[in-house]
Homo-oligomer: 335 residues x 2
């Protein structure tokens, strides 16, 4: 069973998951990318994954081909789905046993596809699958938070090239979410009832210079204090606490802006490695001041000792410049 441990001093939590553990001399090996013949996410290889949790297919039995979206448990899960949550505190040692869910959402049967090149329909189906898994897992009272995220490219931590996202449900609310939620509540109280993300949307629309793209329901922007070059957030313009509340009306605009932003990054930065993740309210929905959003972070720079020692970031690109370049992709792009 994996174990979560809290730092002696700060609220930093670490998941100890030795299932993928290596011998010391194996840490150097790299180049793990899988060709299509051996890819567990390709048609005909459904037996290479644990049995599916969810699949969108016209007909045919479970775990057969013919699906266009497929969700399976991660074969090497960071957390384990069986068991009760036990919290322990002894002297300076605080831990929770590693109960949680770790799933993979295969975004397309096409091994070589890129999310930004998929059809609007297919990206909508990806988002629908995300939503369906959120709603299902939220019922499980052991899970306090559900993070959906995507690692693209080996440098961004992807161990499979086939387009896929992941979901991890954790027995505690992550510190970044709690920090955001606490700050949002403080802002709400200080302003007599404003949502801080709604204020960000409104202010950035007025300022214009950090807006990357926009449609009737969503806005994409380079945040004022972007931690990484070309970091981009996507927010619903309407106040919406939780991702799984996105409406049928929002599905197409959301798919389009996500494709649009990823397409701009792909074109201008030549298919960069990136991570994105969805920040949403904790599962108990008590953090009603939360406003869900996507954060997309290309991996173009390395963090080093200064960042590790301080939690500061160093970014060599001003967000105004990044937004300008992304907005005008037709002139600055290379392909």
């Amino acid at each position: 069973m994996p174990e979560l441990r809290k730092d002696y001093i700060t609220d930093t939590w670490v998941v100890f998951s030795t299932i993928r553990s290596k011998r010391p001399e194996e840490f150097k090996t790299s180049g793990r990318l899988t060709p299509a013949e051996k890819c567990p996410f390709c048609y005909g290889h459904e037996h290479m994954t644990p049995p599916e949790i969810l699949a969108y297919r016209k007909d045919g039995p479970a775990n057969s081909s013919g699906w266009w979206i497929r969700c399976v448990p991660n074969k090497y899960p960071a957390l384990q789905v069986e068991g009760e949550v036990h919290r322990r505190v002894h002297q300076l040692f605080q831990s929770v046993n590693g109960v949680g869910a770790h799933e993979v959402i295969v975004e397309t049967p096409d091994h070589d596809a890129n999310l930004s090149d998929l059809s609007d329909f297919q990206v909508q189906e990806v988002l629908t699958a995300y939503k369906q898994r959120y709603i299902d897992l939220r019922r499980d009272k052991r899970f306090k938070y559900i993070l959906i995220f995507k690692n693209h490219g080996e440098k961004a931590g992807a161990s499979q090239t086939h387009p896929h996202s992941q979901l991890i449900a954790t027995p505690i609310v992550p510190r970044r979410i709690m920090e955001e939620a606490t700050a949002a509540t403080r802002h709400y109280e200080a302003t007599g009832g404003s949502c801080i993300w709604c204020d960000v949307v409104e202010t950035e629309q007025e300022e214009e210079k950090r807006v990357v793209s926009e449609n009737e329901m969503f806005i994409a922007l380079s945040p004022y204090a972007a931690r990484f070059p070309f970091e981009t957030w996507i927010l619903p313009k309407a106040h919406e606490m939780a991702f799984e509340d996105f409406t049928d009306d929002e599905r197409t605009p959301l798919a389009r802006i996500l494709k649009d932003v990823l397409g701009r990054l792909h074109k201008i930065l030549d298919d960069p490695p990136f991570n994105y993740y969805i920040h949403t309210a904790p599962t108990d929905r008590k953090e009603s001041r939360y406003h869900w959003h996507f954060e997309i972070t290309p991996r173009l720079t390395e963090t080093a000792g200064f960042e590790r020692g301080t939690d500061f970031y160093i970014n060599p690109v001003m967000p105004e410049d990044a937004a300008g370049i992304l907005r005008n992709k037709s002139t600055s792009g290379r392909s």
Copy 2:
């Protein structure tokens, strides 16, 4: 002038330093390592750096060869040393202009040396130089915090192979330090006067299993919630708030344990990329509950979307196992 900006929502600060900025298509270039012929930190190349701030040499003029430790301003500083600190808050936008110091401490004239292979004397001189720079910069009231750190290996962010450390002085106290200091004060109050790091040292000495090595004045341990495989901390056993207070008696034991830990990591992990940094009290010395220490973090795993989205870490190696391997380096080592 660089600029520091705070995130709209959380206390995350970002240093925008465009001095090293690249065009979008240049982010992919790598392999920047410098051969000795072109190395600005080798004898005879003193003119390639800005004029030295400090050097240890028997005789000879400043900026000539013959030194054994040399400290110079970083040629591409993240922060700029001239100017007053201005703090600005406007709507959701909070910034501080990028006043600070950014220096390089060249640890030896030997281009190909490794810190753990240097003589005890030479490592003591490195530590003395660190201390001297701390004491000098602490007098400058604009600087609220001074971080000394080392990036070793390209994957750890080093752009020069020649052994060197860096120092960055910042106009605000970094969030990680404030978190630690706040937690330490809380612990002090809750326990009626205990230092949390003193308690860590005592408890880990009793538990034994996470201790890597120890001498009369210092202890090296794998922390209970190590964020990274083989992460190791070095702490003074006596309560000491600030690094620059280390005594003449502590100099040799400190040099020896630092060499010892780096040597174990080098041997067992085959010269891994790593970062270390010194955590110490802010320059105003008001955080008297602080207890300075080294944190050494090898870079063997990649953080990905889950870590970025949550501030959780995933570590595949239990600290008890890491400590066991590092303790018994003679049997597990490869060379």
